[in-house]
């Protein structure tokens, strides 16, 4: 067993420098690598390209990096929850590439599976198709989309072991497994870190080969974006 454990976020991210490209797991605020994002804020690295489905909210998640002007370019599918984001975008401070959600996920998968490009019908005939190769298969048009090439992937799992194996919980899984596969260096923060041999090999969502550093996170806030409830019947 190869031990992937590091002490904390500062250790895990020590070699992230200005100008790097980062994949950040999560959907909205669900399943985001809170400890890693806090550490990026603390380090103050700038000029980052962040690839993530969303951009957090004004004061949480990637929103903290935006507020701190650490992000030069954001690649995302939906950024509607973030007023500061919209301000920076409209003022030209922030470069943005909006990518269909399935295309975003599949470009991660492509990187993790060593496929340089993939075909998807999403965006055919729209401005997303501009500058991209369109190819017809079986009478239907597809865009050729390129695999992501990112320096780091920062993901959050529920449980992990010292070999880097990861298990996610419910819809906090989302982009985390595909981003974990796609980073040149992948850092995983987990709510509970256990010894290798503790987790059932059949239940691993991300095999440790894809994870370079793992640590047990602290102080998870797990903020809820849209609290919707019903009354007890």
């Amino acid at each position: 067993m190869i031990n992937k454990t590091v002490h904390h976020a500062a250790d895990a991210l020590h070699d992230i420098t200005d100008g790097m490209t980062l994949l950040l797991g999560g959907f909205g605020l669900c399943g985001i690598p809170e400890n890693c994002i806090r550490e990026l804020v603390r380090k103050g690295v700038t000029n980052l390209t962040c690839i993530s489905n969303n951009a957090g909210v004004d004061d949480f998640g990637i929103g903290m990096l935006l507020r701190n002007r650490q992000v030069a370019k954001m690649i995302a599918s939906y950024v509607g929850e973030n007023a500061e984001f919209e301000r920076q975008l409209l003022s030209g401070e922030l470069e943005v590439e909006l990518v269909p959600q399935g295309t975003l996920a599949t470009r991660c998968l492509a990187a993790g599976y060593g496929m340089p490009a993939v075909f998807t019908p999403a965006g055919v005939g729209t401005e997303v198709a501009e500058g991209k190769e369109v190819r017809r298969f079986h009478g239907r048009d597809y865009l050729m989309e390129m695999a992501f090439d990112a320096d780091f992937a920062l993901v959050k799992a529920w449980k992990g072991d010292t070999a880097g194996n990861l298990i996610y919980r419910m819809t906090a899984r989302n982009f985390n497994p595909v981003m974990a596969m796609a980073g040149k260096i992948t850092v995983a923060e987990v709510e509970e870190l256990v010894e290798a041999g503790t987790l059932d090999p059949d239940q691993i969502h991300t095999p440790g080969i894809y994870v370079h550093r793992i640590f047990q996170g602290v102080d998870y806030e797990k903020r809820i974006e849209q609290r919707t409830v019903r009354q007890k019947a």
């Binding site: 959600q101 991660c108 005939g125 729209t126 982009f175």
Partner: protein, 220 residues
């Protein structure tokens, strides 16, 4: 009488058949879940990675790890399954999802749809909408027939940036149900909201309007 949002949702629910896997978008589509008849079996897909989405949780039982694509806290049905985003859009792209219901800002008479961007004004992003409209076997749009300025949103062609091309099969508005002729072009009237006349609907349709004149009222 124009339908309210719940009325539109209720009418759309009648388009859902037993055994369907359905993806519901944000807004009116979310309300459709409330009107699915109890005697049919339907599984709701949430594109953030869940099959078998259930109702909102009982107060105090919200779980931050369990949300839908609108970031709302939800529950799971018995038989639910969780998966990652690549598989989620994999099943959408391979047309395992039978029906997609989503909102729109504009639809053209050829079934083009615009619902993700207003240049210079709004930059929220397309989320999963472009994937869904490009791949879905069957798409129903839930929308208002006219905007706040009183202008029709059923147009000869979309003025806003497109989400997808020639992909919308059916539209349910506060006034009517339409079938879209994506080949020849045109909004074919199928049903009227109770008490709304063909002429009223024609006047609220900017794109090519097709009606025999004897279209029935909706059964809700």
């Amino acid at each position: 009488m124009m339908l309210d949002k719940n009325g539109i949702a209720k009418r759309i629910a009648r388009e859902i058949s037993d055994g369907y896997y359905v993806n519901l978008g944000i807004g009116i589509p979310t309300l459709v879940a409330n009107y699915i008849p109890n005697d049919i079996h339907v599984v709701l897909q949430s594109e953030n990675g869940l099959l078998g989405m259930g109702a909102f949780p009982i107060e105090g039982e919200e779980d931050p790890d369990l949300i839908n694509a609108g970031k709302q806290t939800i529950t799971m049905q018995p038989g639910a399954a969780v998966f990652d985003s690549a598989m989620s859009f994999g099943m959408i792209r391979s047309q395992k999802v039978d029906l997609t219901i989503l909102g729109a800002m504009e639809v053209s008479e050829y079934g083009d749809i615009a619902n993700w961007k207003i240049p210079g004004k709004m930059v929220k992003g397309m989320g999963g909408a472009m994937d869904l409209v490009a791949s879905a076997k069957r798409i129903i749009v839930a929308m208002q027939q006219v905007n706040k300025a009183g202008e029709s949103k059923l147009l000869p062609e979309c003025s806003l940036p497109l989400t997808g091309v020639r992909c919308i099969n059916r539209i349910v508005t506060e006034m009517a149900v339409f079938e879209v002729d994506t080949e020849a072009g045109g909004f074919r009237l199928l049903e009227r909201a109770p008490g709304v006349s063909v002429e009223e609907i024609r006047n609220a349709t900017a794109g090519k309007f097709i009606a025999a004149g004897d279209e029935p009222e909706m059964v809700l």
